[in-house]
Symmetry: C2
Subunit: 324 residues, 2 copies
Amino acid sequence: MTEDELVGAIRERIAGVPAQRLLLGIGDDAAAWQPSRSNRSVITTDALVEGVHFTRDAMSAYDAGWRALASNLSDVAAMGARPVLATVALGFPPGTDPAWLLACYDGIAALAKDARCAIAGGDLTRAPAIVVSITIVGEVRASNLKRRDGARPGDIVAVTGSLGASRAGLRVALDRPDLAGEPELAGALAAYRTPQPRLREGRWFGASRHVRAMMDLSDGLSTDLARLCAASGVGATIDLVPVHDAARRVAARTGDDADAWALGGGEDFELLVAIEKRAFPHLSARFAARFGHSPIAVGRIAAGAGVRLANGVAIDPSGWDHLR
Amino acid sequence: MTEDELVGAIRERIAGVPAQRLLLGIGDDAAAWQPSRSNRSVITTDALVEGVHFTRDAMSAYDAGWRALASNLSDVAAMGARPVLATVALGFPPGTDPAWLLACYDGIAALAKDARCAIAGGDLTRAPAIVVSITIVGEVRASNLKRRDGARPGDIVAVTGSLGASRAGLRVALDRPDLAGEPELAGALAAYRTPQPRLREGRWFGASRHVRAMMDLSDGLSTDLARLCAASGVGATIDLVPVHDAARRVAARTGDDADAWALGGGEDFELLVAIEKRAFPHLSARFAARFGHSPIAVGRIAAGAGVRLANGVAIDPSGWDHLR
């Protein structure tokens, strides 16, 4: 398959993705669009690398594509923004089956369609391993843009869902393929393979002036809360680590510690928010009315620095290091 | 060096890059900016991969960074746009010298400063080889946006400079390090290592309604003109292949064919334009008054399809295939 043929096949795969925002799509030197005149724009980039973030044994091409887009969409959600368009730079080794690449684009396209995020352009290149580098542009009303640095002592720290399922799914996918077919563990595998970025929740929180800081949980509650605290110049106490049922079920079979997965596992892509304390009960009720479940209060912002568990144990501030 | 330390050092390296357009820069889930209310936005992405586009033997870290940004800026120039901001996703193998990575960022920062392009954010990840994936957002007045598909029979095909120097520089860098120190070949090496994206020329052409189509020369005149023709539904004849003096000097030493480099060598990052025939003399004179040299007429757009040389020889339409 030549490059031009592959580009043509990719364009077919993404034909169903909404592209109304594009004035000019794939095929020119750049894509063009008209930014909303009343909003601010946000941009984020994130790469998914074979052998680092996934292996072809443990993750299908479709799931790799989905996952690569999901991690970027999650960052857009964490700003309170909606996605507008994405670019995809795809590197792959000589001899890669074109079917793998097209299935990867199917995964990107499926989530892009859900998220109403146009695919604006891309780049295909040879590379020593599969690398999916995605950049997303989003938009948000200036008053709804949420940052990491607004948390204040006394705020409630909450998350949009229980944690650890993605890490549990990774454990099954990597080490226990014998368990992969068990229906009761399917939720963990889905959390790992096709995570759902919290775009609606992010926009909802963005619209509330009582939400003082927001970020997404990509590296684990302990690490990410430490980052939010560092950005805000505050500390925090974690009172509760909400463990996903699917993580508990996997851990019961593998002998792992589901609480550790929930605290440090990463890639849950739930949102982490600091909410003004007196507003929390009402905000929580409204959130539940909108989304069918409450945000989960996991702790409190405190004066000072550093994150501690309720038992007083300090969390290692070094956290997850992508380069280790 | 930990990830946080590396991020801190990178932020120091890009501190001199203009960031006035950013409302929120590196360090949050996404960067934020206010798009111009009167312009359209463009976006393009391009990856530079070790072992594919460069080797650490033949190209310094600084030059690799410069080159990665240059290829993206050239795409922005080809739309008639000005750059606003860039994101940089950098993958590298465990054990990579942090000094290499910082020097790469120095190269990115130097060109970003020249081009007044903010560095809005990035991603650091392990990878099996160095991968620099850059995405640039630019802006352009709606009436100045140039596409590939507007060429019409009779138009003059012109380029912003003579060709082949980058390919000649690659030849020296890869195969003839013994020649690398020769002053008369320095121009070829510079064309390969630190190409100058034609941003001013692109904006100037963008402002002329007589420029009917524009793209940048990244894969060689023959291949890229064939793409412009295919997009426009026309053919073309190449009457003249302007060979860069530096390419001739290298070829004289290495026994290569400088004309072939100029026709098919790629990565010259000059602009390729189709200009209304009757407007060409006046436009050319005004261009020369502005930039100190004339655009070089290389051929004519014709009815039909395909690109031919003046001697009638058809150019292989398959062109450069990044995946071969």
